[in-house]
Amino acid sequence: MEKSQDKILSDYTQSDYKFGFVTDIDTDSFAKGLNEDVVRHISEIKQEPAFMLEFRLKSYRHWLTMKMPAWAHLRIPEIDYQNIIYYSAPRQRAKLAGLDQVDPELLRTFERLGIPLEEQKILSGVAVDAVIDSVSVKTTFKETLAELGVIFCSMSEAIREYPDLVKKHLGSVVPYTDNFFATLNSAVFSDGSFCYIPKGVRCPMELSTYFRINAANTGQFERTLLVADDDSYVSYLEGCTAPQRDENQLHAAVVEIVAMDNAEVKYSTVQNWYPGDRNGKGGIYNFVTKRGICKGDNSKISWTQVETGSAITWKYPSCILRGDNTTGEFYSVAITNNYQQADTGTKMIHLGKNSRSTIISKGISAGFGQNSFRSLVKVGKKAVNVRNFTQCDSLLMGDKCGAHTFPYIEVENDTAILEHEATTSKIGEDQIFYCNQRGIDTENAIGLIVNGYAKEVLNKLPMEFAVEAQKLLQISLEGSVG
């Protein structure tokens, strides 16, 4: 058995990252390094109001007092924060009035990524905000959405056009003091997406942000803020890719969601940052803070993530269930292959009465990958009748990878009912042989088995992206059988 496993492993561990190309475009970049002037300069370029500069500066000053968190089950090589470029933007002539003024090379990049920005070609009913390196290059379907009062634009634009909304909500879910990476982001974020769904509006199309790191030595720090007012609904998807480079690149994003009374937000991520090569060289460090607050009663926030990329992932999309009868959900598939490491999970903070949460995590480890699931379910003193269900499954392929779980529970109200289920399994050689004997080769067999294993989570993705995610799972595991 052992012998054949090793053979299969070594036969197939090569997987290709098909988004690894670099686009040759002119960029305006800062020199490497971070200091107060860099922070001021970013704010200046963005023509931000004073409150933003204030926010950035206090974040930066606070960041100087902080240390990188070391509690995660990750081995993070030392990061030299002075060796990173904090702002890089595709060079554009003056201001963009229409799509024809976008650099054609840039348009081709998004075409290659399968994200056409020309509206007539776009997948039916998906509005896209495309962010390359540090700035948003194009937001589609803006006018259609505007008719409903939905604001969907880049964060820079939101800061200029809707300063009151931004001022009210930015940092309200993830305060600037929150953690090392979120604080850094608060100081230097260059763009991202902003979305506001007005009262009573069901957003008729999927909103989507597509992030792309292109320039070398650049950190990407985007900031997303999503506000769903009373009785509204929105489904939001985020996708990410990066070129194949030998050095590691830092991605430290912050996503904040605010859901008011009866609002529902569905946030899905298909994360496919460059994972590094099969010897563990290069790849993105993905240190992301995502948090939503169910502020109003009966509101609901649902996170779905398919994490296949990045050399290191540190990410815990969480819900603060402050309103009564609120619902928080977290559905996750995380793959680590080759030398990838992931420490991911969620926090469900129950403060409201009758609030409930569901956590379904499916970890898949292959190669030398290390996959950790970390969760916190917290029930406050006043939160009566809280329900939580947590299911945490790990799938191992081969005998050189690892799966770890760190579930934390803190309950201060004894009416709470919490359930926790966990399983660990291995893709068995007998399963693969069974498929083989029916004429299905090993690659496809793994695809079938893994997609079957992750089905509960994949089913939560918007349909347009579920198929893509299924393929991605298979590609990410190409060859890691055991």
Partner: protein, 252 residues
């Protein structure tokens, strides 16, 4: 159809099969019987191409082609089917999806277009009826939570779907009650044709009451110690395997 010449097989350096000769022609049903540990399942695995199997001597020819070194999926696509003694569970993968994938692999191999959804459903319903399978079973995950009988029925269903030239049924009768066995046997009989062949591996004679073999072989300690017509099965039923043991010792 299948020709096995002086086959020696070891698993983890332990010799299990010690010189097997077998000739199966189209239209024939062969039964291979023998006590536990005699090498019956190893023979099935060797034909299907399981990689723990190490062929040290001899050869297996399937329609004139040497199978040594051929991947199990290629053997399957060429018309070889193994009904598993212990069918494997694949959680989350519906039987419909599983079968559709398998059939399309087979079609791709033959240079045919993938089957359309409606064609597939029609074909599947036909075969489900043939083997008497419950409608809802196909929508469940492959073998997950199936009873022993359902698992075995599912093997026959898959065989019916894939229409193999040579089917090897490894202890398909074990764990079946009489009613389930009748259904399974009925399925096998309906699929019998002059173009295909079946090898039934069994410990007991009772399945052979329902599927009448053309030949019966007795495998003992890695060798075929007797081959004869269907009457051999009855003789075994009557005498048990003990008398063989004496013969077996002599052979060794």
């Amino acid at each position: 159809m299948l020709q096995i010449n002086n086959l020696h097989v070891s698993i983890d350096d332990k010799e299990i099969l010690k010189g097997i000769d077998l000739d199966v022609r189209a239209g024939e049903v062969h039964a291979i019987m023998g006590p536990n540990g005699s090498g019956k399942s190893t023979l099935a695995s060797a034909i299907a191409g399981r990689d723990i199997i190490n062929i040290t001597h001899g050869e297996i020819l399937f329609r004139g082609e040497n199978l040594t070194g051929m991947s199990p999926e290629e053997r399957a696509r060429k018309g070889l089917f193994l009904g598993f003694q212990y069918p494997v569970e694949i959680p989350g993968v519906s039987l419909v999806n599983f079968m559709k994938t398998a059939i399309n692999e087979q079609r791709k191999f033959r240079g045919q277009e993938p089957i359309t959804a409606s064609e597939f459903l029609k074909f599947m319903n036909e075969k489900k009826k043939l083997v008497g399978m419950h409608t809802n079973l196909a929508n469940r995950s492959v073998n997950e939570g199936f009873s022993g009988g359902e698992k075995k029925k599912n093997e026959i269903f898959q065989m019916a779907m894939l229409e193999p030239l040579l089917a090897i049924l490894d202890e398909t009768d074990s764990g079946l009650d009489i009613d389930a066995m009748k259904i399974v046997a009925g399925g096998v009989n309906k699929l019998r044709s002059p173009e295909n062949a079946t090898i039934i591996i069994t410990h007991y004679q009772r399945l052979l009451d329902y599927i009448v073999p053309d030949f019966v072989h007795v495998l003992y300690k890695g060798k075929i110690v007797r081959s004869s017509g269907k009457e051999l099965a009855l003789e075994l039923e009557e005498k048990g395997y003990d008398w063989l043991k004496e013969t077996g010792e002599e052979i060794n």
